[in-house]
């Protein structure tokens, strides 16, 4: 944590609270209080507890009966961006809906071919089917390489930073999961690109990986 402050628990914080924690002066300690639903600050060695409250971008503390503003942060427009709740819900819903539609894509495609069968010869249908499959495979290959690399770099950088701050305990399990799945995505995309493996099982795996990172991204936008 920046500033060398004592931080006991870095749980679910708002963006402003996390910024306060990040730039907390060295002489202040802090912990997340779930009973109060906020961040609780104190002086580690002073013996006197501080009462606190946060308002927008400012942190106020009460020390020896006097309220004072500890520090003021930049406006959220320049220091960060948070999505309104309704927009976060909407994007999460959109992501899930897209996943469900995408997951049923194979089914609907087969239905379409079944309906189209009456108007085409078997040979035409096979060629069309093959071309369509290859388009899907190449698209998923691209998506897998890009999303896999994004996930791998994200997880690698975050895990290393966390490890340097507080050892393995600070490393978020999601970052380990991102690294494994991201690397898997690159492998699936690479295998499809080289023509080594290209079959519906690989496409399914690739689609799942793309969906995973889509949901992770939407989740990040919703929470940060």
């Amino acid at each position: 944590m920046g500033g060398g402050s004592m931080v006991r628990n870095y749980g679910k914080l708002t963006y402003q609270q996390s910024q306060i924690m990040r730039y907390l002066p060295n002489y202040l300690g802090a912990e997340v209080s779930y009973s109060f639903g906020g961040v609780f600050f104190w002086i580690p060695h002073g013996g006197k507890e501080l009462r606190r409250w946060t308002k927008e971008n400012e942190l106020f503390i009460q020390y020896e009966g006097r309220w004072s503003s500890v520090m003021e942060f930049g406006s959220s427009g320049t220091d960060g961006w948070s999505m309104p709740e309704w927009a976060a819900n909407a994007t999460t819903g959109l992501g899930v809906t897209t996943g469900i539609i995408g997951g049923n894509y194979g089914l609907t495609r087969n239905h379409a071919y079944r309906y189209a069968y009456g108007g085409k010869t078997a040979r035409q249908l096979t060629a069309l089917h093959f071309t369509h499959h290859m388009k899907v495979a190449n698209f998923l290959g691209r998506v897998n390489i890009v999303t896999g690399i994004i996930g791998t770099y994200h997880s690698g950088s975050m895990a290393l930073s966390a490890y340097q701050e507080g050892g393995w305990e600070q490393v978020n399990p999601w970052h380990v999961s991102d690294a494994v799945i991201g690397a898997g995505g690159v492998v699936v995309g690479g295998l499809a690109m080289f023509g080594i493996v290209s079959n519906p099982v690989g496409w399914g795996v690739g689609f799942g990986i793309g969906l995973y990172f889509g949901v992770r991204l939407i989740n990040d936008l919703s929470t940060n």
């Binding site: 690399i149 690698g156 490890y163 690479g190 690109m193 940060n224």
Partner: protein
Amino acid sequence: MGIKRLYYEVFADAIEAAANNKDALYGPKEQRFYTILIFSTAQSLNLLLILFIISSFTNIGNIFFKLNFFPGTYLDNALSGFITLGLPFLIINYLLVLHSKTYLKYTENRKIKTKGWALMIYFICSAMAFTLYMVMGKWVL
């Protein structure tokens, strides 16, 4: 086989395999770019693993940029990681392999003829070493 020859032959093998893939619907430039991107990512994973091991002995500090271009933090952190770890390798590989076209010298008469598997095995081994180290460190040790 020297390390230089091995390096160029892996690229020559991967680029030729991608070019010979009749089912691929995207062009050779894009194929070469993805080839070099995969190789650079594997090198970045090697570097990350080395940094993790060094960090267990000494504190090397935060080496990543703090960026705030995108909404949320996910893409910012990914971009920061890419600039710090991946971009240097990408530039070096591009200059050594694609810009100078040195890999063309090794396309003929090369010993590695694996249809792209050599690059993928290198990537899979790098990724497995890195993820195994993380999983072992986080949950086992």
